[in-house]
Symmetry: C2
Subunit: 573 residues, 2 copies
Amino acid sequence: MLPAPRPLIVAAAVICFCLGSALLPSLAEGKVHHHTWNISYVHKSRDCFEKLAVTVNGEAPGPTIRATQGDTIVVTVHNKLETENTAIHWHGIRQIDTPWADGVAGVTQCPIHPGETFTYRFVVDRAGTYLYHAHYGMQRVAGLNGMIVVSVPDGFVEPFTYDKQHTVLLEDWWHKSVYDQATGLSAKPLVFVGEPQSLLINGRGIFNCSKPVPATGTCNTSSPDCGLRSLFTVVPGKTYLLRIGSLTSLSSLSFEIEGHSLTVVEADGHYVRPFVVRNLFIYSGETYSVLVKADQDPRRNYWATSHIVGRNPTTPSGKAIVSYAGNDPQMTPPTAPTTGPPWNNTAIRVEQSRAIVAHPGYVVPAPARADRTLILLNTQNNIDGHIKWTINGVSLHFPATPYLVSMKHGLTAAYDQRPPLDSYDLMGYNISAPAPTNGTIGSPVYRLAFDSVVDVVLQNSNMLDNRRETHPWHLHGHDFWVLGHGDGKFNPAADAWRLLNVKDAIMKNTVPLHPDGWTAIRFHANNPGVWLFHCHVEAHVFMGMGVVFEEGVDRVRRLPSSIMGCGHSKGLH
Amino acid sequence: MLPAPRPLIVAAAVICFCLGSALLPSLAEGKVHHHTWNISYVHKSRDCFEKLAVTVNGEAPGPTIRATQGDTIVVTVHNKLETENTAIHWHGIRQIDTPWADGVAGVTQCPIHPGETFTYRFVVDRAGTYLYHAHYGMQRVAGLNGMIVVSVPDGFVEPFTYDKQHTVLLEDWWHKSVYDQATGLSAKPLVFVGEPQSLLINGRGIFNCSKPVPATGTCNTSSPDCGLRSLFTVVPGKTYLLRIGSLTSLSSLSFEIEGHSLTVVEADGHYVRPFVVRNLFIYSGETYSVLVKADQDPRRNYWATSHIVGRNPTTPSGKAIVSYAGNDPQMTPPTAPTTGPPWNNTAIRVEQSRAIVAHPGYVVPAPARADRTLILLNTQNNIDGHIKWTINGVSLHFPATPYLVSMKHGLTAAYDQRPPLDSYDLMGYNISAPAPTNGTIGSPVYRLAFDSVVDVVLQNSNMLDNRRETHPWHLHGHDFWVLGHGDGKFNPAADAWRLLNVKDAIMKNTVPLHPDGWTAIRFHANNPGVWLFHCHVEAHVFMGMGVVFEEGVDRVRRLPSSIMGCGHSKGLH
């Protein structure tokens, strides 16, 4: 969704950052949006069950950040968590020239201490739908998240029209605390987080409080925070743009609005060749814009629902109401809530993934070939009795000193110097059988030649119990071209390359890796900094499912001292 | 309990620290004891109800540190809490020449980040019974605590004899998390932490699992961590030294061993003129050594119990068994557990406080008069809808930059420059009525002339709801002489000074301030550093009930960079 040619926008963003706002009359007349956020624990009843949530100004999800392409966002974060640090990632914002503002504790900054104030300042250089969330331990699971909506500049005409727009944020929600979950994942033997208690739509859910209450707190069905409500009201004949984002911690979802078609027009900030679905599959970290026309019987209301797919669900569907104007907005639809597609039909999900290609008028041409190819196999490994995810044998452990600081300042003791492997035992490894190999826990980094083109083939494999999972992978600091989704094992020696789409590949920042398959992406390593690439399932990245890319760190400007103070960076200015 | 004259020991400690151990043949031949601690969350069933505890190497309480006077303790702390910082205070250790090792986040160090390692190194310069615990937010409530036993040097003869010694650590325990508790205390309106679910003796308690379970987790009556057990076994006719410490978060306690007299011989590391009690009143942060003779019918076992006093208790008594050799150690005593003294009989508690004076052979003479007197009134105040404790109108807020760093390095923006008041409106304030005054939240500091003698009169007053509480006050970095406990309002113009005991005042580091009364102490401000003085009730200090003393910070040696990295100290070496 890049109206102007990219290099120009990059230049504008850079100049805008350096010189401040409103100094450049035509190129960078972006506004500066100031936000002040207090991050604190508050007792919330998001699904009627009261538990502690990490909130932004008392709310979970936090406020939607709204801006226009080229604007600057300044968020002043006051950490009021008493004993817990925080860091906030601006998901999908590439942080061009501001790699220290990416908000990943251990990669781009030291976490923000309780009692401290940290200021994030970055340019939203491209219109689209983005997200934000805590990026520290599993803190995101506690509720610190929200959406970012970046509008196109005045005068820019989008390849579709609509009458009004709404945001739809999808989450899953546990009654156990983050500490409980993380302690279980670190335990011998591992105690998995289990299925969520509820699915939330725009922060609201409905827990069946007549069940025996399994966790702390009380169940409060009369709380104004929870229960069935109207998501929005439509006027017959009008068309609505829904900006849908998923920040689930675990669940892959299917979203639908009963009886209404959804026309997908945007994915992760890029225009899609429009296609129509009854239900939208959406993975954690993804955003989609869909058009929905109010073309059904206006005398009744309709269900908006989210359903778990890819895992055998025990969680009730997320439910809200889409009301037609004139009706009581809270009037329950006369039909039973939609139940969604079969959870274990992988084929229809892969099909939808393959349908997502660039809008013909907005193709960003992919480079014809890559300078380097990484083939990244995920396996579950038992390392000293701990179950970990590894990528080519290494389970990522975030170092105490952020990579960006240690690599920029030559603190070589702060991370593993031995580079990780570019591939795995392609011939020998059976992706349909649990890993027989041992893995290691470490904090290595892939050093990428600056300005090079990199292909990454993500290769899925079965877990130790031989189940198969979907892994949505998210790349920081970049969009990538999605070259293809394949079945089984990627075989570079065979004709797998022929299957890849370089003609009209969509650009995204998050892409699913489907069970028993592979996903190939290509990106341009031209954003100086250090960037995380990881599975967006919170438990998976906590268990090590990620890698780190460095590119042109020598080109990064002087780092702000506000990102330092931890690990080996205590003494640095 | 200072066998050698103090100046000599100080010199020994200093030299010992500077040159390392075992270099000085006679003066400082102390050993160096190395401990490596992993601090992590673990699911524990301390009272049979499973909840997360912050543990040392998987245990709560942590291991007892044992050393001999003059030894050096080195504790290497690995913070494995994922998103939560920590800091550990060595309660009762004066940290002579090592003020940065006192372990108070916000006062003497930046908290230790997850993933980081911090090394505490200090000399235990005086024999006695001491404690350790987390000193960061309310983290102590989560279980990170334990005991320190420092033995007299070889050849030193104590003023009592015994056959064997045991440690007894008393705690109270909540099923709600620290986060839940802290969030309630910070809320508008305040939600108090409530009474504990259990009292623990040496980490074990017994929750009535047949009650409706009010909090997270499961109740597991068969857990080996909980239930009724023998505390220790005695041999008829033998005498035992019990080193008893209280690290309750809220509760004042009475401890007794059914049918056995307790002879109090040590308090906070100082020999007491022995006195005999049936039950020992002990306040959070205090330690006592008592002698108990196995002089009862050896054919049965006896109850060891702890009971809440000072607050109307709803918590069952803490219970354990003292077994006589030859019996089944787990054999339940034939009698009903002892129920302790009436919770609201303040007079008998004041009486016991007054009975604690120095052993005649070990009086450390108090200076005859003070150079400065502080009269510190505690009141509850409503500050912008938050209920806070204030001292002379100021509710202490720990700054993001530790005082020790900011004061040593002249970072004047890091704390309040306006000094707090030395006294309050002595004539106008009615201590039996709730505070009509407004307070402020701040981080000021009392700057004390180095080597001066300071008197502090702690003045209690009723709470906003007109109830009266006991506040055990703990001074870091010093012992103080307990000059007296008085009723009502301390009146410096009248003859209150005459009532004070300078003849054989006991030295302590923690002393109760009783309801409707005052407590006067005297100390020598001769330990360069910055030191916290606060109510040891965790909820109270969290609500601001503390003050900070600085003395001779210019004499403190170069600070280790390991204590820096937060707030204004990010850029310091």
